[in-house]
């Protein structure tokens, strides 16, 4: 266990020594602020217009609409940012020649994998915490329902874990960080597209595709509904990613 902590600590320090952490965090916060503002003004404008056309129209849940739009958008932004977090995790070790150092220690694979996975998860948590700055504004000026917000954060966390596990696996496949990042990005893009394919398909194909849609499962979370189907999906997704990572690391032993 102390090995996992040691690796986690080293990885966190490494994140904040390289420019990657700062670039990702800055962009993330910037985008979250911009999107929040854009969505908020959009909603306010359209509800103002609506009330002009007829009095007695239903009260509009502005905060609800804003959070749904916001978290939906941010989930797509995450799709693009996570490759940056995971691309170096194992690829850099290979390039530097430190892979053997990590893997030849007793129980090396498991500890290295868990340490790095936890480090990237911690980073994801920092990113999610950063969005609280904008969301808290809703609480200051309105009375948003806290359940969808909590659900959304939980959903984003699980969704992020799945993507991080996939990215971790991909980074074990190559020495080159850029290639690792691009492949992860490509895979994430495909997962995103499956979402739009699923709405166009029909029958059994539609069921399969919509189950695989990584973003689709988020919808319920954002609405405030915590359905175990989705939780299981994300956990399984993350598990598969980690399993593949473990196998990939093991195969390095006999590959060379």
């Amino acid at each position: 266990m102390q090995n996992v902590l040691a690796i986690w600590q080293r990885e966190m320090k490494a994140y904040f020594v390289s420019p990657i952490a700062y670039v990702v965090l800055t962009l993330w916060l910037l985008l979250s602020g911009l999107f929040f503002y854009a969505i908020l003004t959009n909603v306010i404008q359209s509800t103002m217009m609506q009330s002009q056309f007829g009095p007695g129209s239903q009260p509009v849940d502005v905060p609800g609409i804003v959070t749904r739009g916001f978290f939906g958008t941010m989930s797509v932004v995450l799709l693009f940012m996570i490759p940056m977090l995971t691309m170096g995790l194992f690829a850099e070790e290979k390039k530097r020649g430190t892979m053997e150092l990590l893997l030849t220690t007793p129980v090396g694979h498991l500890h290295a994998m868990m340490g790095k996975f936890l480090a990237s998860t911690t980073f994801l948590l920092i990113m999610l915490a950063g969005t609280w700055v904008t969301i808290s504004a809703l609480f200051k000026y309105g009375q948003p329902d806290w359940k969808p917000i909590l659900g959304a954060y939980l959903g984003l966390l699980l969704y992020g874990e799945g993507l991080l596990a996939a990215g971790l696996f991909i980074s074990t496949l190559t020495e080159n960080q850029i290639v690792s990042g691009v492949i992860t990005f490509g895979v994430s893009l495909v997962l995103w597209l499956i979402d739009s394919f699923s709405s166009g398909a029909s029958g059994a194909a539609k069921d399969v595709l919509s189950y695989l849609s990584v973003i689709g499962h988020l919808d319920d979370f954002i609405k405030g509904v915590i359905d175990t189907t989705h939780v299981i999906f994300y956990l399984s997704f993350a598990f598969v990613g980690l399993f593949l990572t473990y196998r990939s690391l093991e195969s390095m032993r006999w590959r060379s």
Binding site: Q2, A6, K13
Partner: protein, 235 residues
């Protein structure tokens, strides 16, 4: 320790060594002393807070060596530890390796044969993936040399000296360096194995009135041994 030691260039020497000590399973009570000890033995205590990426190759090599000492392994395998170092650093690393004898078994892999004669007790020669010799450096040299060799620097008429030397009993051949008679000339005398003809040769030269400027026994170098063994193998 591989040729390019596994270092994290963004870490400081001290934090790197602590990290390695942790993942190698060193009990936490002993970690600090082991790290300090390794730094001390490799003479890197003065750069403990420097970032590894900014160190010179010699220092990086020493950090790599320090890392390999952590958790007191019984056997150390060092691959080309002095590659790329300047003469001073090469000397320091070699003394370091010699000092490891006694507390660790060291297996050194290198192409620099003088390094082997200098630091190792036993030599293993591998060619084309096959083991072709295991012995002490001296043992190998003794095994391989066909004759005793003596190198001389003599002032005197070349041809006469050559003939006189060749006439000494036990001398198998005499080779003279080319040049004019006015300059002192180098001679290499090959004698039968296990004879020591240095006294006889010295007497012969001096009684003739020639200047004996230098006389020394030449042992076979490890390079010669290596080349002998490897070319023999190819036959």
């Amino acid at each position: 320790m591989p040729e390019n030691p596994p270092l994290y260039p963004e870490m400081t020497v001290q934090s790197y060594l602590h990290f390695v000590a942790k993942i190698k399973g060193t009990p936490s009570a002993q970690r600090k002393t082991q790290v300090e000890d390794a730094m001390d033995r490799c003479s890197i205590t003065d750069v403990r807070d420097r970032i590894i990426g900014k160190l010179s190759k010699g220092y990086k090599q020493r950090v790599g060596l320090a890392q390999s000492l952590l958790n007191n392994p019984e056997v150390l395998i060092l691959d080309e530890p002095t590659i790329g170092l300047d003469p001073k650093q090469i000397f320091e690393v070699r003394s370091l390796i010699k000092n490891l004898a006694g507390t660790h078994t060291v297996i050194l892999s290198t192409h620099i044969l003088p390094e082997v004669s200098m630091t190792c007790n036993r030599v293993v020669i591998i060619n084309d993936g096959r083991l072709i010799a295991i012995d002490t450096p001296q043992g190998l040299a003794n095994q391989q040399k066909g004759a005793e060799r003596i190198a001389l620097l003599i002032e005197g008429p070349r041809e006469a000296v050559r003939q006189k030397l060749a006439s000494i009993p036990g001398v198998m051949s005499v080779q003279a360096e080319a040049g004019s008679d006015a300059q002192p000339a180098g001679f290499t005398v090959e004698c039968k194995l296990n004879t020591d003809l240095r006294r006889d040769i010295a007497n012969a030269v001096v009684t003739q009135g020639w200047g004996l400027l230098e006389l020394r026994g030449v042992s076979m170098s490890l390079e010669d041994v290596f080349i002998n063994l490897v070319t023999k193998e190819e036959v």
